[in-house]
């Protein structure tokens, strides 16, 4: 499946396009520890791509490589067919890659609205003087950004907590606000690091619905890390399986489910629990 040269059509009839992000032979070391060992996989336009694996398999490190937060010692990242020079994380964000974090990384001192508005920072073009005077372009931009953000707020159904300081929110809502912040950036590629960790069934269902809707309505390509196998199998088009920094499987949920290496390394362990 991952060797396919062109796009494909999913079971539910969505058209998956060309390769958007291509990771080639990525190796990442911390001192003597190899967190990622020579991993390659791609993410196609319009796809929901899952990365799974036991704790410590290197999944989050992989997302951090994509975000530009970690610079791999070997290998290259190709985005839209072009090899990506080593970029700073904020430059990666400007290329249209947004993300959420495993341990919620919201700005605790700010309101929900301000947090989501930070997602629009890359669309602010007015200079400091203009902002200081708060007239003309600066004010117009602020209003435009606010409109975009309000749409995201409506979409994620968090109107009521708009002006609440983020610190006061319960866990599940924080996760949703973090998703809102990422969505406000109107990303081409959205990275979700365990979007459902620590949630109850109801919250997971809500979150799953949001993820599918985002993909469906905005055509956003999504890569997500998740531990809940049911969720992964339901949501994703293709799955990468990692263990101890190595890739041990890659394919559709069905292919992965029947892959002996994956069963041994991962699902077997999961069943024992």
């Amino acid at each position: 499946m991952n060797d396919r040269q062109t796009g494909y059509v999913t079971e539910d009839g969505r058209q998956i396009g060309d390769v958007m992000l291509d990771l080639r032979d990525i190796t990442l070391r911390f001192g003597g520890v190899e967190a990622i060992k020579n991993i390659s996989f791609d993410i196609r336009e319009g796809e929901i791509r899952a990365i799974i694996g036991p704790n410590g398999a290197g999944k989050s490190s992989m997302l951090n490589v994509i975000s530009g937060f970690y610079v791999p010692q070997d290998g290259s990242v190709w985005f839209h067919g072009k090899k990506r020079a080593p970029l700073k994380p904020y430059q990666v964000a400007r290329q249209g890659i947004a993300r959420t974090f495993q341990n919620i990384a919201l700005f605790e001192g700010m309101t929900v609205l301000d947090n989501i508005m930070t997602g629009r920072l890359n669309y602010t073009k007015s200079g400091m003087i203009a902002q200081a005077i708060w007239k003309g372009k600066a004010e117009r931009e602020e209003t435009e950004n606010r409109e975009k953000v309000e749409r995201v707020i409506d979409f994620l159904e968090i109107q009521a907590i708009r002006k609440t300081p983020v610190g006061r929110l319960p866990y599940g809502l924080k996760k949703r606000v973090e998703l809102a912040r990422a969505l406000a950036a109107e990303p081409k590629l959205l990275l979700l690091d365990e979007p459902m960790a620590g949630m109850n069934v109801e919250e997971k269902e809500d979150m799953s619905r949001f993820i599918l809707d985002v993909n469906d309505e905005f055509g956003t390509t999504i890569a997500l890390i998740e531990h809940d196998m049911g969720v992964v199998m339901d949501l994703s088009d293709r799955v990468v399986v990692m263990d101890y920094g190595k890739k041990i499987g890659d394919g559709t949920p069905d292919e992965v489910r029947n892959n002996q290496a994956v069963i041994d390394a991962y699902l077997g362990v999961a069943h024992d629990e």
Binding site: F30, S60, N64, F69, F101, Q102, N103, A105
Partner: protein, 331 residues
């Protein structure tokens, strides 16, 4: 050897001695920082306060005499007795222990889990408070510390080395007090290391420094350890206060000199005792040499800022300090 070169060497030696003094103050910072993550800006004022208290006790001053006199119109100043130096030192240590307890009980117990920068600002408040209390208790006039420590240049060294240079060289001039201070510092460091390696409380202290949660879970009382390190830091401050005080009198500028321990720590890393010592020596030598070589060209008094600028430049290239470990950031 030319006289200039020899004077240069003298500058280096004096710089090393000054560095020992800085390291002495820096030690107190490291103790507290390792155990509690608090960057104690008040360490310098603690040295001043300890020295003031020591002088006050030795001379039998009535604490808060000014305040009492102003309030009740009395005219008391001294009890009229003199306390022997050794006993006074013990009493001062006692005062510092009480101070450590109070700081823990009334300040940091309420700030557990706060961000480091908040704790840091709290210690700035503490510094102001302690300075005010010190002045109120003992008065703000400059006091001399008469502990009978040797003063003046070491003549024998001067005579012995006078022959090294030509006619222009009169031998190395080194303050006897500096030599004593170096000795005391070595003993103090050895004592602290022995304490932390070989005693039960020392091991507990290191455990706390490593991991608060883990230390708690094996039954170590964090509160006790924190009072202990603040007491130790108070003791180190007293020693530093005695040395600095004997050198330049017990006065407010002492706490400013002690601020120099900050750049020392930035060089040496906040958690490393050897780092504090090496950092102290680098700063001491660096600022004396800079003043000797460059100072005359730019108007002198470069010692005011050299240490800070050096530390600043150094940190830009090596943010973790000389001995700190490389920081791996995570999200």
């Amino acid at each position: 050897m030319s006289a200039d070169f020899l004077y240069g060497i003298e500058v280096v030696i004096n710089g090393l001695m000054a560095g020992v003094m800085y390291a002495l103050v820096a030690l107190g910072f490291v103790l507290i920082f390792k155990a509690s993550g608090i960057f104690n800006f008040a360490q310098g004022v603690m040295a001043l306060f300890a020295a003031l208290t020591l002088v006050g006790i030795m001379e039998g001053q009535v604490p808060f005499a000014h305040l009492i006199n102003a309030t009740f119109g009395t005219e008391i100043h001294h009890f009229g007795w003199h306390v022997p130096a050794l006993l006074a030192i013990f009493l001062t240590v006692g005062v510092m222990v009480v101070f450590a307890w109070a700081v823990q009980r009334f300040l940091f117990r309420h700030l557990v889990g706060q961000e480091p920068i908040i704790l840091f600002m709290a210690t700035i408040g503490l510094a102001y408070f302690l300075e005010g209390v010190g002045d109120l208790m003992w008065g703000s006039d400059i006091k001399t510390l008469a502990l009978g420590l040797p003063q003046g240049g070491a003549r024998w060294l001067e005579d012995a080395t006078a022959g090294l240079g030509g006619e222009d060289f009169y031998g190395f001039f080194i303050d006897k007090l500096d030599i004593v201070a170096t000795g005391v510092a070595i003993v103090l460091v050895a004592g602290l290391i022995a304490f932390s390696q070989y005693t039960k409380h020392g091991r507990a202290m290191r455990a706390v420094a490593d991991d608060h949660q883990a230390a708690l879970s094996v039954g170590i009382s964090l509160n006790f350890i924190w009072i202990l390190v603040w007491s130790l830091a108070g003791f180190v401050a007293l020693v530093a206060g005695i040395m600095w005080g004997a050198k330049s009198g017990v006065q407010f500028s002492l706490s400013l000199i002690a601020l120099k321990a900050l750049p020392v720590l930035m060089l040496g890393g906040f958690t490393s005792i050897p780092g504090a010592i090496v950092g102290g020596l680098i700063i001491g030598v660096g600022e004396k040499l800079f003043e000797f070589l460059i100072g005359p060209m730019v108007g002198g008094a470069t010692e005011n800022w050299f240490a800070y600028v050096l530390a600043l430049l150094f940190l830009v290239f090596r943010p973790q300090g000389l001995f700190g470990e490389k920081i791996i950031e995570r999200v």
